[in-house]
Symmetry: C2
Subunit: 248 residues, 2 copies
Amino acid sequence: MSIQMNQSLSVDCAVFGFDGRSLKVLLIERRYVVPDTHLDPLKLPGAMILENETLPDAAYRVLEEATGLRDVYLKQMEIFSDPRRVWGEELEWINRYHNIRTERVVTVGYYALVKLDARTIAYTTAKGAQWVEVESIQRLAMDHKQILSTALRVLCREMLQSPVAFELLPRKFTIRQLQDLYAAVLGIEIDNRNFRKKILSSGFLTPTAEREQGVAHKPAQYYTFNKNAYKRALKEKLRLGFINNWRY
Amino acid sequence: MSIQMNQSLSVDCAVFGFDGRSLKVLLIERRYVVPDTHLDPLKLPGAMILENETLPDAAYRVLEEATGLRDVYLKQMEIFSDPRRVWGEELEWINRYHNIRTERVVTVGYYALVKLDARTIAYTTAKGAQWVEVESIQRLAMDHKQILSTALRVLCREMLQSPVAFELLPRKFTIRQLQDLYAAVLGIEIDNRNFRKKILSSGFLTPTAEREQGVAHKPAQYYTFNKNAYKRALKEKLRLGFINNWRY
C-alpha cells in the first residue's frame, strides 16, 4: 500500500446546549446538495483546515462562525481516520462544495458546551442553524452521527468526572435545573432528595438571595457554581498523593 | 487564506522503557541525510499514514516495526498541527525520503510503554535503534524534541493518576524498583518509608515467595501488580457517585 496523498484535514464540532428540558446539538443544513441525491441534509458545523491554521485555530473559527461565541468550553475529542469515512457521493459533495480534489478526509472531532441564552439563539437562528434534540436525531451527513455519538459519550463521562455541567447552565440556576440537566444527558432518572443532599454537601454551590419568579410551585432558590471551592478541593485531593488518585 | 492541500498525515511515537536506573526513549537514526546538512540525525520512530490505514493502525505498525511488540500500552496524545512544524530542509528530507511531494505534515503523537527485557533490547539493537536516556536528549529531528517533551508530561500525569508504571516494570519487581521508576520519571526524590507504606497499604501489590538473588544488601521481596484489586477499588470509588469523582 502507498502513502496517502491528496488528503484533507477537517474539524467537526458537536456544539451542545441545554434548554432546561433536553440536550440539544447545533446542526446546519448543507448547501449545494444535488436535488436528487439521497445525501442527508443536516450536518455538524465543520471546516477544512486552512494553510495558516492549526487544528485548534480551525475549531475555534468553526465555533465562532456557528455561534458567534469565542470564550466557551471547547475540547478536542477523537480523530476519525477510517479511510472510507467519506466516499462516493459524499466525497463528491465535499469536492464540489469546496472546489477541491481530495481523495480522503480525516477529521478531528471537537465538542463545545454553550449556554443557550437569547443572544446565542438569535445568532444561530439568523445563520439558519438549528438546535435539535440529540435524542431525536436518527441520521446525519457523512459519519456525523458517529461523531455526535462519540461526543455524547465524552460529555457523559466528563459530566461524571468534572463540573462541566455548569458550562451548559445559566450563571444562576436552581438545583432542579442542574438535576434535570444530569438526567437529560445521562438519560437516567435521578432521586430528588439524594441529588440535592449530595450536591449541596459538596460545598461547590453558593446560594444567592434570588428565587424563581412567576412559577406555580414554591419558587426555588438560585445558586452559582463556586469554582474556587472546587479548585481548592481538587488541590487537597491531589495533595493526598498519587495512589489515591489512580483511575483507569 | 486557502484550504490546505498537498498535505500529509503522520504518526510519531515516543516509546519509553525503564532500565532500573533511568527512563529511556527509543530513537532511530534517519537515513539519506545529505552529508553536509545540519539536520539532527536522531528521531522518534514514525511513519506516513498509508491509503488503507487508520491512524491507530499506523501507530501500531510503527511500534511493531520498531520494537517487534504488539500488545503493549500505546496511547494517542496530541496532534501537532503547526503549519510550520516541518519546513525547509526538513520538509525536503521528508519528500526525498518518501519520494513524495508534500507541503505540510500534520503529525499525531503517540506514546508507548514497554518492558525493557532482553528480547526487546536484542530486537531494537538489531534494527540499529538506540535506547537513549530521556534526560540527556538535547536536540532531535524536526519538532521531535517537542513531541518527546509532551509525551513525558503526559507520562508524568498518567503515572500520578493511574497504575501505568507497571507497564514499564518486569512482571515481578521490588518496591525499590517501583520507587526508582517514579523518582526517575517525575524527577523527584521520594521518601523510602512513606512510599513503601503507601504503596503496600493500597492493597494493589501481591507479594511473591521470591526474593532478589546475588545482591550485596538484604535481598528484597518481589511483588506483582494486582490489577483485579485495582479494578475493584476503582469500581467502588465510582459507585460513591459523581461529585466524589470530579477532577479538572
